[in-house]
């Protein structure tokens, strides 16, 4: 069987494209970095990842310019028929700015706003814990058990998922679109610092679309995929549970391929 093939997009200013590509390869997929101005045919890819960084130097608002790039139209066309799309950090901001997340209406429904953090204003880098918010399986959470705690770093200045639409969060909960929430090291979801590093509503760390083939996640699983990457863990090459996001993508693609 052919390996699942992932395109990792690079917009000017992104800076996590290499390690994101490497994690796809680490779990047995093919992956390739595609520049924003590339003429490459995207239909040959099974999934897409928009990595972290500062696309277009966060001009105007993080993610808003990349969201309007031509290549995003092509990506949207590809994922319309169920291909995978993951946005990590700046990638998550871009997905919110395209309206693909949460994707209930054909417009932008949320924002990823500047952090509210009592220690550091602006860019904040720290290790946090996240866990599944519901038991519905999608393309990215296949291997997680309920209450499984994932240690993963956040590194952003604008990571606070918010919305003006009072009913939206209720809908997201009902649709089981909130995938990961920030929790403490015992798994308790409490909306306070440092458990919630940025003040996101409902401790949201990751949201998917209703169909579950698109996900926006603020923390960086590609930086927490092996034990040696995780502070104070026993340093070895064993995989950690954050890498299961990539493993899940692989399995989903393999199982859903015709």
């Amino acid at each position: 069987m052919q390996k699942p093939k992932i395109a990792v997009l690079y917009f000017p200013g992104n800076n996590c494209e290499e390690e994101t590509r490497d994690r796809c390869i680490d779990v047995g997929m093919d992956a390739k970095i595609i520049r924003w101005n590339s003429k490459e045919n995207l239909s040959e890819f099974d999934g897409f990842i928009i990595p972290g960084g500062f696309s277009y130097e966060d001009r105007i608002r993080a993610g808003v310019i990349a969201a309007k790039e031509k290549i995003m139209d092509k990506v949207e066309k590809e994922v319309d028929n169920g291909k995978l799309l993951l946005g990590i950090c700046n990638g998550a901001q871009i997905l919110v700015e395209t309206g693909l997340i949460p994707g209930l209406k054909d417009k932008v429904e949320m924002a990823v706003a500047p952090n509210i953090n009592p220690l550091v204003s602006g860019y904040y880098d720290a290790w946090v814990y996240i866990k599944l918010s519901n038991n519905k399986k999608n393309a990215f959470n296949q291997f997680y058990k309920n209450n499984e705690i994932i240690k993963v770093p956040v590194a952003h200045g604008e990571g606070r998922f918010i919305t003006k639409d009072k009913n939206l969060i209720k809908k997201l909960i009902k649709n089981k679109q909130i995938i990961f929430q920030y929790c403490d090291n015992k798994g308790k979801v409490e909306n306070k610092y440092p458990t919630n590093p940025n003040g996101a509503v409902n401790n949201i760390a990751a949201i998917s679309n209703k169909e579950g083939n698109i996900m926006a996640i603020m923390p960086h699983p590609e930086r927490a995929s092996f034990n040696w990457q995780v502070p104070n863990s026993i340093k070895n090459n064993s995989k950690t549970n954050a890498i299961k996001i990539f493993e899940s993508m692989k399995r989903y693609i393999e199982e859903n391929k015709l």
Partner: protein, 781 residues
């Protein structure tokens, strides 16, 4: 001599007074006698462009005119050195992976004056410049580190100090985070000597295969190769930056100096770096040899002249081809401006097309920053002339070696009167109170507010992040277990008392830091921050500092050899003084680079288990001069820790052996705040989330308790399980060292210290945490 078509400045017939006036009017900081020396060198009066060229090349910053003679004494050679401090970065061997030798590329610079004037931009361009220095060796950039020195946050200039500190930290974050380079290490000290002159040093690490190194000089047979510049269009920013770096900051001149600070563009840099990696790949594929150099001080002039001169070529450049963002700039500004985000390539004609395509089409630079691009501006010539044309006129035509040779001074130095004495300090009654005061001192307290503002794990290679241990550690190469460790050190209060011992301690401590995680010191870099070299007392501080580095580097040895720990890169920053003429505390800031064969063995400082044993190596001595304990008592003292080289290297290599054999659970070196602070920090851990306490119980009646606990004499505290105690002792015995058992780790969340059955300290973790995590935050508030 070289013919020119533009007007000559008649220096020869000007009186000293009118020449002085002329130089001042043209913002040229050459002295009268230096200006006259130009005539001797080129055999005629110079053009204005030529005069500006010599102004920059003969600045302290570019020529090292005061320091070069002294720097020669530093040991720069050792079997593991691939490239010493001669090009933009030094390179030390990492090891062989799959039969190929890899080098760690290191550069260490300062951006002190710009950061004092415009702190955000100054610090950001400091990061920007160091990234270019490492990249242009053909390397992949891996990490940065930032040693910072700010004024007294509670003194009379506190508002400005806090403003500068916050903006510098923001500038470093704003640049490094955006480009996507992890911040691996650093330190911060506050001290009133930095009130008018902060220090912003920056270190950068990269990795390169030895065979892929690109040099900062034109390759062999480069005649007729093209000179290609790439990056941001040239403007007038940073014109005279090198000369500015060599001036004392004058409050009144601050406004006019702002123009000498460059404008950072991390967004363009992000794309430029990726495009440049692609050039590396293509050049390798096509087996093309290139020359490559960062454009820093002196801009196109400095980079092109050094690239060609260092391989005995000349150059012909047409300034009309340079892409600019301001119309009608005079030629010397186009030629010498320090516009950021630019590089110079020496490129064979057959490869130019590929190179231009990568930058201009594939990575579409002009869509990233207005009019940014790569463009050929001239060629390498066989004759050694440096010929510059602008609007069909030759504006410079001088022997290229005259431009690059520089000048040298033998500066006078004189030992200043230093009258330091040990105080008569009463023994404290309440040790708990003193202990908390030390933990909350901003020079000891947790720097999380600083490093949590930096991206520490972008690239996904970070193994030990800033703040978790004495040194940072990153994975060197994918699929291999090699790690690279980095730490930075220098204590300004030691420098005030004794600049020689301060430098010795900086080298020794940086090596202890590397050893404390289990890595092996491989090389050093130095950034030498001092006052005015024209003042004999201040120059003396510099000479003493260099002597201290030399002594420590030569006597602390590379592991299992008698070779010195080589100094492979460095920088000198003079004229760090206030407008009142007071120099900063002498600061030889040292970075140590360590190699770890197997990063799985690395340990951090945080206690790992209950009911294990804590040991000490390194005797406590009456060495509290410059200590934090004296600082909180508002005294300086005299006894700076002296380093017994033999004992110190034994201690360092014994610790490394123990960690290599997996015998230690945690380890932390003793420095600021003494042994008490070391133990407290091991309990707290980098994130102040530790929950294992300790009970320390010893019988040591020979020294007063405050001296035992707070002396900063070198040493380590480390954690050992029962089953490994004998093995650890055997290793130390082999090095003729005795280890002292201090006590046990305990379940209870407190630190209790008992000497000869008397309890001295008894503090809860919660209290220590509060003190340790508030001191630095308060200083910046």
């Amino acid at each position: 001599m070289g013919e020119v078509d533009s007007d000559l400045i008649d220096i020869e017939s000007m009186s000293d007074e009118s020449l002085k006036y002329f130089l001042k009017q043209n913002a040229i900081s050459l002295t009268v006698s230096e200006s006259r020396r130009i005539i001797e060198l080129i055999g005629r009066n110079p053009t204005l462009t030529e005069l500006h060229i010599f102004n920059i090349q003969w600045s302290e910053h570019s020529s090292y005119k005061s320091s070069r003679a002294v720097l020669k004494m530093l040991p720069t050679k050792a079997p593991n050195v691939i490239l010493g401090p001669v090009e933009d970065s030094g390179i030390v061997e990492l090891g062989k992976i799959n039969g190929e030798k890899y080098g760690i590329v290191v550069s260490h610079e300062s951006h002190n004056h710009p950061s004092q004037v415009v702190p955000y931009e100054g610090a950001a361009t400091g990061v920007g410049g160091i990234l270019r220095d490492v990249l242009c060796m053909g390397a992949k950039i891996l990490a940065t580190a930032d040693p910072l020195r700010f004024g007294n946050p509670n003194g009379q200039n506190k508002n400005k100090v806090k403003y500068i500190a916050n903006e510098v930290i923001n500038g470093i974050a704003g640049y490094g985070n955006a480009v996507g380079i992890p911040n691996l290490a650093g330190d911060v000290y506050f001290n009133e000597s930095f009130d008018d002159n902060c220090l912003v040093n920056v270190v950068c690490l990269g990795i390169v295969k030895e065979k892929d190194i690109i040099h900062s000089y034109a390759p062999k047979n480069a005649k007729d190769y093209e000179i290609v510049i790439v990056g941001k269009p040239t403007d007038n920013s940073g014109f005279g930056g090198a000369a500015f770096a060599s001036l004392i900051i004058d409050e009144e001149a601050r406004e006019s100096n702002r123009g000498a600070v460059q404008v950072p563009d991390p967004f363009l840099k992000n794309v430029l770096i990726r495009a440049t990696y692609e050039v590396f790949r293509q050049a390798k594929k096509q087996n093309v040899k290139l020359g490559f150099k960062d454009m820093g001080a002196g801009g196109i002039m400095c980079s092109s002249s050094e690239l060609c001169s260092d391989s005995d070529f000349g150059a012909e450049i047409n300034l009309d081809k340079v892409h600019v963002s301001i119309k009608d700039l005079p030629p010397y500004i186009i030629f010498c401006s320090e516009t950021q985000e630019r590089f110079t390539w020496i490129c064979p004609k057959k490869f130019t097309k590929t190179l231009l395509k990568i930058y201009n089409e594939d990575f579409a630079l002009s869509t990233i920053a207005k009019n940014a691009k790569a463009v050929a501006i001239g060629k390498v010539t066989k004759n050694q002339d440096y010929k510059i044309k602008y609007r069909d006129k030759i504006v410079c035509n001088v022997p290229i070696k005259a431009v690059t040779r520089g000048i040298q001074y033998q500066r006078a130095f004189k030992e200043p009167i230093r009258n330091f004495a040990e105080p008569k300090l009463e023994e404290p009654k309440n040790y708990n109170e003193i202990a908390l005061k030390i933990l909350s001192n901003p020079n000891v307290a947790s720097k999380e507010k600083c490093y949590k503002h930096y991206d520490r794990n972008v690239m996904g290679n970070s193994i030990i992040e800033s703040g978790q241990a004495d040194a940072g550690l990153i994975r060197a190469v994918p699929k291999s277990k090699y790690g690279i460790a980095l730490s930075v050190d220098s204590n300004p209060r030691y420098g005030k008392i004794n600049p020689y011992l301060s430098a010795v301690n900086a080298v020794a401590e940086s090596m202890r830091n590397i050893a404390a995680i289990g890595a092996v010191p491989a090389a050093l870099t130095d950034c030498l921050n001092y006052g005015n070299p024209e003042k004999p007392e201040q120059f003396n501080d510099f000479v003493e500092g260099v002597k201290g580095i030399k002594a420590a580097a030569e006597n602390l040895y590379l592991r299992k050899t008698k070779n010195p720990v080589p100094i492979i890169s460095g920088n000198v920053s003079f004229y760090n003084e206030s407008s009142k003429g007071n120099a900063i505390d002498p600061s030889a800031i040292i970075a140590c680079i360590g190699v770890m064969r197997n990063y799985e063995k690395a340990i951090t400082m945080k206690l790992k288990k209950q009911k294990t044993n804590l040991f000490l190596v390194g005797n406590r001595k009456d060495e509290l001069g410059g200590s934090v304990y004296y600082e909180i008592n508002n005294i300086l003292g005299a006894n700076v820790p002296d380093i017994n080289f033999k004992e110190h290297r034994n201690m360092v290599y014994a610790i490394i052996d123990c960690i290599d054999n997996g015998l230690l659970l945690s380890c932390h070196d003793i420095s600021d705040g003494g042994m008490f602070t070391t133990i407290a920090e091991m309990i707290l851990g980098g994130n102040a989330d530790g929950n294992i306490g300790a009970e320390i119980n010893f019988n040591y009646p020979y020294l007063r308790n405050d001296k035992i606990l707070f002396s900063e004499s070198p040493g380590f505290v480390f954690e050992v399980e029962d089953k490994n105690i004998n093995k650890v002792k055997t290793i130390f015995k082999k090095y003729n060292l005795i280890v002292h058992k201090l006590g046990k780790t305990i379940k209870k969340d407190s630190l209790k210290i008992i000497n000869s059955k008397k309890t001295i300290i008894n503090l809860s973790i919660e209290k220590m945490k509060k003190a340790w995590t508030s001191g630095f935050v308060d200083a910046l508030k």
